[in-house]
Symmetry: C2
Subunit: 276 residues, 2 copies
């Protein structure tokens, strides 16, 4: 096809996808091309703006390494992550709701026993966490894999500290026969997402704050159940209504009790959804 | 805002852009968010597909360096580049049409005099190029900056050869008082865009060929005129109707005459559009 113009090019590109063997890939690529072109036409994107977009995406890619995922951060701040979570985790009432995965999960976190301190040196006020893992009908789920990760008192995850060897405030536990799990860590605090990269520049240019309300990340896995990726948020946090990544669900907000010694205690019960 | 769902999240994200000081940035970001979300909802993007997208963009970023721009290649192959060119270069009939910039331009190409061989060692059949630069009313444009770049007989640009020091088949010339310019180079041949990166994987998965019809890149700059970024394509090339980046315009296709000694000669006249 020669002489495509701004109105005919979209169909020309989609026609080029005609022989895609995987029908799902064909559907996704065709829809992507149509929406991408519709965006460019709607704003009448200039060539300088196009180049600014190319440079932004390139810088975002260059910010990604084994310990940082700037494209996930971009997806999070544009609401795409939470949209994808919402579309794919429509569960019956009573099941624990899902939220964003975030860019700071790393595989291979250390295994801990009940009662261990997973903070492992991370700074913060001590906090005991007592949780249970159950099915929708109230049956305890034993030996569920409970992966936890969180920022420290300075708002940094271990992977954001280049000099740190080993995991801090990150670990894997297993639920007991009665579905319970107990570990010590530090209390979660509100923190800003990393602002030293392209996503930070985007937030600044749009005058958005980078803060996330205090939360613990959880990933709970058990055979026969859907994997639950979620947070538990800290009641009273000032950023619960303006989370930079749109991840707050009221059902995930819990009281973090202050104990007489100034330490904290969190109780939370996870309800898994049976696998389809 | 808490408890956004797949239907309410788009407005929630756009509301967060309310304080963007630059109205154009606000417009672009709002439109981008709406179309990005519409895409994800339309295909009901799964979490695995979302992650595949994150990984694809990350790999694309990692493929970009000083000599390779995989995001431009992605934009080119998705038709976004040519769409942007088409929207921004609506010129009166008679002006030379624009086409894609491509990912292989590098600033600082060497300056040449008329009659020089800009191939500078690049392999290929010799080709003399005679061109003129004029305004729409036929007035010669003297001292226009004419930047040329092209692939060699093996389909590679100089920047794709890691061992090569210095420019080959790439140079800058100036038009004479009568608007004319003459240089020697090698004949352009059809070539595949780089397929060893993420864009190549996308083309393979959609069973699209990576070929571009033979062409010379030109960027022509003169005070008082719009910069012209274009190609001259070689008449008879089998890929003129299926250019991998949708860049062919019939007005840019020219005969490349075969001379008695087997060499080639190309004549082409550029008509610049007066700057607004």
């Amino acid at each position: 096809m020669r002489n495509v113009n701004q109105h005919t090019i979209t169909d020309a590109v989609i026609a080029r996808l005609a022989d895609t063997p995987d029908p799902r890939l064909k559907q996704i690529m065709s829809s992507l091309v149509r929406h991408l072109h519709d965006f460019a036409r709607e704003v009448q994107l200039t060539e300088d703006e196009w180049m600014a977009g190319i440079e932004f995406l390139t810088a975002t890619g260059h910010q990604c390494d084994a310990k940082r995922q700037e494209f996930i951060l971009l997806s999070d701040t544009l609401g795409l992550s939470m949209l994808t979570v919402a579309m794919n985790n429509d569960k019956p009432a009573g099941c624990t709701e899902s939220t964003v995965f975030g860019p700071f999960h790393v595989p291979g976190a250390p295994e801990y026993d009940h009662g261990d301190d997973i903070a492992n040196g991370a700074k913060g006020v001590p906090c005991a966490v007592h949780c249970t893992v159950k099915s929708l009908d109230g049956k305890p789920i034993a030996n569920a894999k409970i992966e936890v990760w969180q920022a420290d008192a300075e708002g940094l995850y271990d992977v954001q500290r280049p000099d740190l060897q080993g995991a801090q405030a990150r670990g894997v536990l297993r639920s007991a026969v009665d579905g319970s799990c107990f570990f010590n860590t530090i209390v979660a605090e509100a923190y800003p997402i990393p602002t030293d990269g392209p996503v930070g520049r985007m937030l600044k240019a749009t005058q958005r704050h980078p803060w996330r309300p205090a939360h613990l990340h959880f990933m709970v896995t058990a055979p026969g159940y859907e994997t639950l990726i979620t947070h538990v948020f800290r009641e009273g946090d000032p950023y619960l209504d303006s989370d930079a990544v749109f991840g707050v669900r009221q059902s995930l907000v819990a009281p973090w009790e202050t104990l007489p010694d100034g330490h904290f205690r969190l109780d939370y019960d996870f309800v898994l959804h049976q696998a389809k």
